[in-house]
């Protein structure tokens, strides 16, 4: 059974960490709308997260569907492994 490369998990973990920071900053900024420094950090991480996802999708296929991700050449979104199998 073909196993996934370690880099697959490493990239996913980085994406997860970046997205967690974005969640925390979103919640923080909801009550601190004047914190410019936090907003700068938020935009940095938003851009960083997009970049990480682009890198991941270039290597391993789409993360999202319905146009939220570009498809790869062989429309492989329905092929395993599924997210819960990863």
């Amino acid at each position: 059974m073909k196993q996934l490369p370690d880099d697959y998990y490493q990239c996913l973990s980085n994406i997860q960490a970046a997205d967690f920071v974005l969640v925390e900053l979103t919640l923080y900024l909801d009550t601190h709308q004047d914190d410019i420094q936090a907003m700068e950090q938020f935009n940095q991480y938003a851009q960083y997260s997009k970049q990480l996802k682009q890198e991941f999708e270039a290597k391993y296929g789409p993360l999202l569907q319905y146009g939220n991700s570009y498809t790869d050449a062989n429309w492989s979104w329905a092929k395993s492994p599924w997210p819960w199998q990863v």
């Binding site: 973990s13 980085n14 960490a17 967690f20 920071v21 900053l25 009550t31 601190h32």
Partner: protein
């Protein structure tokens, strides 16, 4: 580590429930309850120290002050009493 507005605080506190002589169960002695840091913070000031992204994910919060390490106080007690 646990210091806010100059005073320090503890993340875990205890109380002693009353144990009646007719209580069939073994006295539990001390009971513990958690008092996480956010109780002592009030409105979060800007510019709090943060964890790096990966560590924040593992610890469950971006801000070091709000991290609340939980260790089951009954676990260590059970090992000693039994």
């Amino acid at each position: 580590m646990y210091k806010q507005h100059g005073e320090s605080f503890t993340p875990m506190k205890t109380y002693q429930p009353f144990h009646s002589r007719f209580d069939p169960c073994r006295p539990i002695g001390k009971k513990y309850y958690s008092t996480p840091p956010h109780l002592y913070l009030g409105f979060q000031p800007p510019g709090l120290k943060q964890f790096p992204a990966q560590e924040a994910l593992l610890r469950g919060t971006l801000w070091e002050f709000l991290y609340d390490y939980y260790e089951n106080p009954y676990e260590s007690k059970r090992r000693t009493t039994e």
